[in-house]
């Protein structure tokens, strides 16, 4: 069944979109991430213009993350103060990111820039995840469970403007969370992702937040930053396709439930290793596209 996407100005098979939504939703439920990093490249692969893929991907991430946030909030796993600090940084970052995106669009380099961002970020994050989970697996096999400190004291803790984050059991400067929120805000605007897959490790390893609070708080940031990206992309670039978003969400919400049911049967380290491998394979796929000689030497675009 073909459906016409009014902003992308093209017809796409609705079942294909529902299927992509379902598949990505299933994986995101399984791994507990938003799945935007899989969705945007897949949309570009089926021929959706990258500007529309990024903007609608952010819009889809918003819808897909909202139920998770509500569930975490009910369980009291959201550190509001930390969430708001991250979001303040994220607001500035995503505003800057949308401006960069509009500039790239004017230069005609959106496709390449988005792919490059994906390759670099997913490559780094994927490699770190695999390394971390494999060493955790090996440790468990050896049977020695090393006692870790709650968090290590580094130069980050010497920064000024300290604030007490009671739910995270932290007394740290607001500069690191602001900077993290800012950086991930830029990336979400350019890559069309919520940024959960980068935010979660950053909160655990850089800020030293307790794991129980991390998921809920990162969802808080993801929901508000993706709402901001959606708004700015629609307003300043004009590339959010609501029909596309709704089809993806319809498939995604259903898929996430199946994924989440299956995810409870997997162990933490194994899940992280699998997710890391998935992230790495997306990075390799995109890198291959950038390095391979293109089938057409020329591209056509509108004058903007």
């Amino acid at each position: 069944m073909q459906v016409y996407l009014p902003i992308a100005e093209m017809s796409v098979d609705a079942l294909l979109l529902l299927g992509i939504g379902f598949g990505v939703g299933w994986l995101s439920g399984l791994f507990g991430v938003g799945g935007g990093f899989l969705l945007t490249p897949l949309l570009m692969l089926i021929g959706i213009p990258s500007a529309v893929a990024v903007a609608s991907g952010a819009n889809q991430t918003l819808g897909a993350s909202i139920s998770g946030l509500v569930a975490q909030w009910r369980r009291g796993n959201v550190d509001w103060r930390m969430g708001l600090t991250l979001f303040a940084g994220g607001l500035l970052g995503s505003a800057l990111g949308v401006q960069i995106f509009a500039l790239l669009k004017r230069w005609g380099q959106v496709d390449v820039a988005v792919s490059l961002f994906y390759v670099v970020i997913l490559g780094i994050v994927g490699a770190l995840m695999v390394r971390e989970s494999v060493s955790a697996l090996l440790r468990r096999r050896r049977g020695a469970a090393p006692r870790r400190k709650l968090h290590e004291h580094t130069w980050l803790h010497g920064l000024p403007f300290k604030l007490r984050f009671r739910d995270s059991r932290l007394y740290i400067s607001v500069i690191p969370p602001l900077a993290i929120g800012f950086g991930i805000g830029i990336l979400s605007a350019i890559m069309g992702v919520g940024g959960g897959f980068m935010l979660v490790p950053a909160m655990i390893y850089i800020l030293g937040m307790p794991t129980a609070i991390v998921i809920g708080t990162s969802l808080f940031q993801v929901v508000f930053v993706s709402a901001n990206v959606t708004l700015l992309q629609a307003w300043q670039v004009g590339s959010v396709d609501i029909v596309l978003t709704m089809l993806l969400l319809a498939g995604g919400v259903a898929g996430a439930q199946f994924g989440a049911a299956m995810g409870t049967k997997l162990r933490g380290e194994e899940t992280r290793a699998l997710l890391g491998l998935l992230v790495l394979s997306v990075a390799f796929g995109l890198a291959w596209n950038l390095l391979q000689t293109p089938s057409r030497a020329f591209t056509l675009g509108p004058i903007s």
Binding site: M1, Q2, V3, Y4, P6, I7, E9, M10, S11, N59, Q60, L62, G63, A64, S65, I66, S67, V70, A71, G108, Q109, D111, V112, L116, A227, T230, L231, L232, Q233, A234, W235, Q236, G238, V240, I242, V243, T245, M246, L249, A250, G252, V253, A254, A256, Q257, A261, L290, L291, Q292, T293, P294, R296, A297, F298, T299, L300, G301, P302, I303
Partner: protein, 248 residues
């Protein structure tokens, strides 16, 4: 129903061949508007009509049908390899190219008309006036032709002009799913002995209708409101989904 009425009018005009002022060709379109709705997958429009004199006689007469869409500005960019990565490199701007161009005829136009006639009526890709800015390398023009054709927005002789009997003719023009909204001109030319002896211009309107049109006009006219709506709808859909699929 409308098609039938048009056919009757046309038939009526055929029934009165005695009129001295009868035009050499009479042509009509199967529809004067194409609606892009949410389920739009492309459309095909029939151009049909009749000639005053018999087509087969010597010297032979030929029919040419050419359809052009609203002009648009496009940029053609060449990919270049920088440190192993393929980037968009040098570019040429074509500020006014037809967004849609379809040509069909009873024979190839170069067999029917000499070059200056073809140029005047813009018949064939080679005779389109494509003003360019920037890099003047002819490869960019060639690439524009190739890319437009691969998207189905420009085509030549996709379906021939077919004749029925001695005076009736018809041709089909296919519009791809990616067709732009706007006003389209369809010219029907009658040629004999290396020149155009008659022409008729028809117009066709391609319009977005229904939900697709409303969404596109809202997104363009009030982008901020549209953005807010996108946020609200995504939140509602996500929330609704979690309620529907909640496992007990």
């Amino acid at each position: 129903m409308m098609l039938l009425a048009r056919a009757l009018v046309l038939l009526g005009s055929l029934m009165a061949p005695a009129l001295a002022s009868a035009p050499p060709i009479t042509a009509e379109l199967s529809t004067d508007r194409v609606d892009i709705s949410t389920g739009f997958t492309g459309a095909s429009v029939l151009v049909f009509g009749a000639t005053q004199s018999f087509l087969g006689v010597d010297p032979p007469e030929d029919l040419i049908v050419v359809a052009t869409g609203p002009t648009q500005g496009v940029v053609v960019r060449r990919k270049i390899n920088v440190l192993g990565i393929w980037l968009n490199g040098p570019s040429t701007r074509f500020p006014d190219v037809p967004g849609f161009y379809a040509l069909t005829a009873t024979r190839r136009v170069w067999e029917i008309l000499p070059e200056e006639e073809r140029r005047q009526y813009r018949l064939g890709f080679d005779n389109l006036r494509l003003r360019s800015e920037g890099n003047s390398n002819p490869a960019f023009r060639a690439a524009l032709l190739e890319l437009k054709q691969s998207g189905g927005r420009w085509h030549e002789y996709a379906a021939p002009v077919s004749r029925a009997g001695e005076r009736l003719f018809s041709a089909r023009i296919a519009f791809p799913a990616t067709v732009q909204a706007g006003d389209y001109q369809i010219e029907v030319l009658l040629a004999r002995e290396n020149r155009v002896i008659a022409r008729q211009e028809l117009s066709l309107r391609v319009e977005r209708v229904g939900t697709a049109a409303d969404i596109a006009s809202l997104a363009r006219g009030q982008p901020l409101l549209y953005g807010v709506l996108c946020v609200v709808l995504a939140v509602l859909a996500g929330w609704l989904g979690s309620v529907l699929f909640r496992r007990n």
